[in-house]
Amino acid sequence: MPLLEVSDLRVHYSAADAPVRAVDGVSFSLQPGETYALVGESGCGKTATGLALLRLVEPGRIVGGRIVFEGRDLLGLSEEEMRRLRGARIGMVFQEAAAALNPVMRIGAQVGEALRIHRGMSRKEAHAEAVELLRLVALADPERQARAYPHELSGGMKQRVMLAIALSCSPALLIADEPTTALDVTIQAQILALLRELRDELSLTILLITHDLGVVAENADRVGVMYAGRLVEEASVDALFDKPEHPYTRGLLRAMPGAGPADERRLPTLPGTVPDPAHPPAGCRFHPRCSERFEPCDADEPELSGRPGGGRVACYLHRREAVG
C-alpha cells in the first residue's frame, strides 16, 4: 500500500482576471521508503503541490482532488486533526532555512518546541532530545550549537537545524523543497548525503522538490516531471535519464551544462519560458515550446499513459508510436 496517494489534485490562487491554476490535475503516489523527486522549471507548481500535502496553500485553495496519507483522506480532516499531523507525521524543509528560524530564540529551544507541542515533553526533556536530534543531523558540537542563535550558524548548518526540527517527531514523510538550492555545491553534497543516510536509518519516505536535475540523478528513486501545473512524465530515475520520453524532459536534460560534448561552447536550448498558469495555452501546455509538435498537440491536452521502460508520459508523439 502506498504511504501517500494523490489523485487529480488542483490548487488555485486568485488573480485579477482568471484563477492561477498552479496545480491542475496532478496524480502520483509514494511507496514507503522511496525518494520521489518532483522536477520542473520555476512556476510549474512543485511547491504548491508540496504545500497542498500539508494543506498550507493559503492564500490559495485546494479546489479538487484527493490526498490519502496513511489511509486517511487529508482533505476530510478537521483543522485540529491536520495540525496534529503536520510536524508529527509529515515534516517539511524549505529552501529558506534562515527565514524559517526565529532570530531571537536559541537553536535548542526551537528544536525542542516541536517536541513539547507534539510529544508533551518537559523543557528539560525537550532540550536533551534536541541535542540528540542535532547530533543525528551531524551538527558539529551539538551541545554548544543548541545554545547558539541562528545568526551564529552558516546556511548549511541552519539547513541541518531545519532537518532536525522536521524530524523531531519521527515523521513517515519528509517533504524537502529545494533544500540545497541556496547552498554551495560542497555544502549541498553534505546535506544530500545526510538526507540519504537519514532515509536509510529512519526508513523515511522523501518527496524531494527541485529544479535541478543534477540533484535528482544521484538522490531519487523515481521522478515526476511537472510542467505548467501538470505532471507530464514519471519514471524511475534510471529510465528517465536513460531515455526521456517527453520532449520537455529531453529539453531539460539537454540544457544541463554537464550534458553533451564539453568542447561545444553553446548549450542546446529549449526556447521560450513556462506559460502564465492563469492563461495556459490550449492543447498540450508545452506545445508552443516543442520542436516535435504535430497536429493534435494544440487541440487537446494529452493524458498520462504507460511509457516504454515503465512509468507514464503525457505526449501525443508517444501515443502515435504506440498506435503504429
Binding site: H151, I187, A189, H211, L213, G214, A217, G258, L267, T269
Partner: protein, 327 residues
C-alpha cells in the same frame, strides 16, 4: 605569444571588518581579497570559481573600480586604472561593465527599460538626441533577443531571463571591452540559463569582448571559459587553462569542488569530498588557509602559507603537497 593582457591586476588586497549585527559585535578585519594577481587577455573568458565568501565579487568589483583595493594595481589596456580620477575615470568607465546575478536589483522599478538601457548612452554622450537614442536602444534590445517594442515596459513585467537580457543590453550599450559577469545565470533554471549563456558567448564572439565570468557551476565554466581561476578565502589557489584544470586538477580544493558537482548520471554518489564549511569573516588560520578542511594536509600546511607556484604552461597552484611532488 605573450601579448599584453587587457586587464592586469597585481597584488590586490582588500580587507573588511565583519559587518556587525543586532547580536553581533564587529570582529577584527580580514582579507576578503588577499594578494591576488590576475590577467585577462583580449577576447578571453576567464572563469572565477570558489565557494561563497571566497572573495569573487569583491575581486570582480575591484577590477572595474567599483571597490578601491587597499593594496595592488590594476592596469586596463596599459592605463593605470587606480590613478584615474574624476572626468578621466568617468570617460574610461564605458570600457568596463558589470552584469549582476539579479539585474532587477540594479534596475529602477519606475524607469522604463528603454530608458534604463539608454541612460549610459546619454551619460557618455554617445547619441545625439532622443531619436538616435531610441534607435540605438531598439538595436540593443534586438541584439539581446528582446522585442524592441518592449522598450516602453517596466522591469516588473519581465521574467528572470528577460531581466538578465536587459542587464546585458545595458552593459554592452556603450561598447565595453571587458565585462565582469557576476553569477549572471545562477538564479535561473537550466533552460533559461542555457539561453543566456549562449547569448553571452555570441556577444563575446561578435564584439570581441573579454569576460571575468564568476560562477559556481563548474560544468558551465568548463564549457565557455578559456582559463579558470579558483579562489579560496581571498586567495587564488589554482589557475589553469579550462581543459587542463578539469583534466588534471592539482589543488585538493579544486578536486573537492569538482567532486561535489552533481552528476547527471543516475547512481550512488561518492561520500562528500569536503567536510566543514568555508571560513567566513574570520582571521586566516596559521599556514595554508585551506588546511583545516584539507584531506591531504601535512605539517608544512599548518605552519607556512604556500606560495602560488608555476607548475606548467599557464598552470599555477598554491599547495605544499603539490610542491613536494615537484622536488
Amino acid at each position: 605569444m605573450s601579448a599584453d593582457p587587457l586587464v592586469r591586476a597585481r597584488g590586490l588586497t582588500k580587507s573588511f571588518r565583519p559587518r556587525g549585527g543586532l547580536f553581533r559585535p564587529r570582529g577584527p578585519a580580514f582579507n576578503a581579497v588577499d594578494r591576488v594577481d590576475l590577467d585577462v587577455m583580449a577576447s578571453e573568458i576567464v572563469g572565477l570559481v570558489g565557494e561563497s565568501g571566497s572573495g569573487k565579487s569583491t575581486l570582480g568589483r575591484i577590477l572595474i573600480r567599483l571597490i578601491e583595493p587597499d593594496e595592488g594595481t590594476v592596469h586596463f589596456g596599459g592605463t593605470d586604472l587606480l590613478a584615474l580620477q574624476g572626468e578621466e575615470l568617468r570617460r574610461n568607465r564605458r570600457d568596463f561593465q558589470i552584469v549582476f546575478q539579479d539585474p532587477y536589483g540594479s534596475l529602477n522599478p519606475r524607469m522604463k527599460i528603454g530608458d534604463a538601457i539608454g541612460e549610459p548612452l546619454t551619460i557618455h554622450r554617445l547619441v545625439d538626441g532622443r531619436a538616435q537614442r531610441d534607435e540605438r536602444v531598439a538595436e540593443l534590445l534586438d541584439r539581446v533577443g528582446l522585442d524592441p517594442a518592449m522598450a516602453t515596459r517596466y522591469p516588473h513585467e519581465f521574467s528572470g531571463g528577460q531581466r538578465q537580457r536587459v542587464g546585458i543590453a545595458r552593459a554592452i550599450a556603450c561598447g565595453p571591452r571587458f565585462i565582469v559577469a557576476d553569477e549572471p545565470v545562477s538564479a535561473l533554471d537550466a533552460p533559461v540559463q542555457a539561453q543566456i549563456v549562449n547569448l553571452l558567448v555570441d556577444l563575446q564572439e561578435q564584439l570581441g569582448l573579454s569576460y571575468l565570468f564568476i560562477a559556481h557551476d563548474l560544468q558551465l565554466v568548463r564549457r565557455i571559459c578559456q582559463r579558470v581561476v579558483v579562489m579560496y578565502f581571498g586567495r587564488v589557489v589554482e589557475e589553469a587553462s579550462a581543459g587542463e584544470l578539469y583534466r588534471e586538477p592539482r589543488h585538493p580544493y579544486t578536486r573537492a569542488l569538482l567532486a561535489a558537482t552533481p552528476s547527471i548520471v543516475p547512481g550512488r554518489p561518492a561520500a562528500p569530498a569536503l567536510s566543514g564549511e568555508p571560513p567566513s569573516q574570520t582571521a586566516a588560520p596559521e599556514g595554508c588557509p585551506f588546511h583545516p578542511r584539507c584531506p591531504e594536509a601535512i605539517d608544512d600546511c599548518r605552519r607556512r602559507d604556500p606560495a602560488l607556484i608555476r607548475i606548467g604552461e599557464g598552470h599555477r597552484v598554491a599547495c605544499h603537497v603539490v610542491e613536494k611532488t615537484l622536488e
